[in-house]
Amino acid sequence: MACEEKNLLLHAYSDGELDLVRSLEIEEHLTTCTACAEELRTQQALRNKIRSANLYHRAPDALRTQIVAAAGGAAPMDRVRGRGAVSPIRIVRERPVLEWLAVAAAILIALALGIRMIPGALNVRSGDLVAEELVASHIRSLQPGHLMDVVSTDQHTVKPWFDGKLDFAPPVRDFAGQGYPLIGGRLDYVGGRNVAALVYQLRKHYINVFIWPDDGRQANLPDSVSRQGYNVICRSSGSMRLCGVSDANADDLREFMQLVSH
């Protein structure tokens, strides 16, 4: 991997946001690459500098006092208003009702316009964007503690776990027999909706399979694409769209996706 590609990971590494495997990769790279080692040292110097430079602005006492006073009457707003009183928070900075109505109206208009425009906008740029989101999600999932919400090799544990968490039932199957054990699942958010993510293992590689109902919105999401060294391969199966993301090689991933979508 070239140093330029490493740069982003270097930041995540020094922030302690990389998983063990990737951290080890970086550490190994650092032993042989003086440029990256220097880069890391500069990053750390900058971080120490920022943290030690007394840059934190604490809330002024007067502000705190106002808000503490306001909070006393603020929470049960309806009751307070019902008694004819006004919450102190409103006295502090009076916002005319009209302004709130204007905000509400603006939101309604934006929603109305947005709903009309979303399908068009999504079709124009969603494919690539979604592919990037999938890869970003995959990378994030490899960070410590992010990979799985439910850890289980048992599809009968994983599948019910999604009940009530999604508005669809993702197909959950184990392919341990074929060399791809299911190791868990989690909720994720891709392309503007909640999706199921199933985690499979292929030798030392993790494969995230993202699943959501195929509603045609990501029609131009490429079937096979590579981003930052990760392969993304998408298939349709029944009413579902399935996208596998992994650093495993494209042929292996394609074979696996064939199996999953069959």
Binding site: L63, R95, S137
Partner: protein, 183 residues
């Protein structure tokens, strides 16, 4: 008093959720709008919104929840009052100049005055600045920052990388020049 504040739900009250994070709220607002008075206004407005949205607060990360409201309030303010600051785009080509001797960078950075660092941070495009404040001063995880900013984690990662690079370039190469404020 307790009962009145906490209502009848039995869950944590507004005070328990918001007040412990007032410093964080003010710090973020202050860094986003770069003015003490505007920051106070924004925190007050955000608290007002927090009261209104409190019914929608699910027990969870109270700090991230509040900070999200604060940043949205601050962005609304900026959109209205200083739209130019949101349009700021970092021009990468300006910053491809020669590097200081790389092994001297760390030492040079240590020697920079706090005031200069503050000005340089304030000169960053607001989204990079926001990510850096949440990370370096507030100590949030990438996931929490993504929650506050409403962006994917990958965007947090790249905002931090670009913000830090730009800050460093400015400190090491732009010393003595005027801080771009983008106003």
């Amino acid at each position: 008093m307790q009962e009145e504040t906490h209502g009848t739900s039995g869950g944590p009250g507004f005070e328990d959720v918001v007040l412990p994070h007032l410093d964080a709220a003010y710090n973020l607002a202050r860094w986003l709008v770069r003015s003490p008075q505007d920051a106070e206004d924004i925190v007050q407005e955000a608290c007002l919104r927090a009261v209104r949205f409190f019914g929608g607060y699910q027990e969870g990360n109270a700090r991230a929840w509040l900070l999200r409201i604060v940043r949205n309030t601050a962005y609304t303010f900026l959109e209205k009052k200083r739209p130019g600051e949101l349009a700021e785009e970092f021009d990468e080509t300006i910053h491809t100049g020669e590097r200081v001797q790389p092994d001297a960078e760390a030492a040079l950075l240590q020697s920079i005055e706090n005031r200069m660092l503050q000005e340089a941070l304030e000169g960053l495009p607001v989204r990079f600045r926001e990510a850096m404040i949440l990370r370096e001063l507030e100590g949030l995880s990438y996931k929490e920052i993504a929650e506050v900013m409403g962006v994917p984690i990958g965007t947090v990662m790249s905002s931090l990388a670009r913000g830090r690079t730009q800050l460093r370039d400015f400190l090491l190469r732009g010393r003595g020049q005027e801080v771009p404020r983008g106003m």
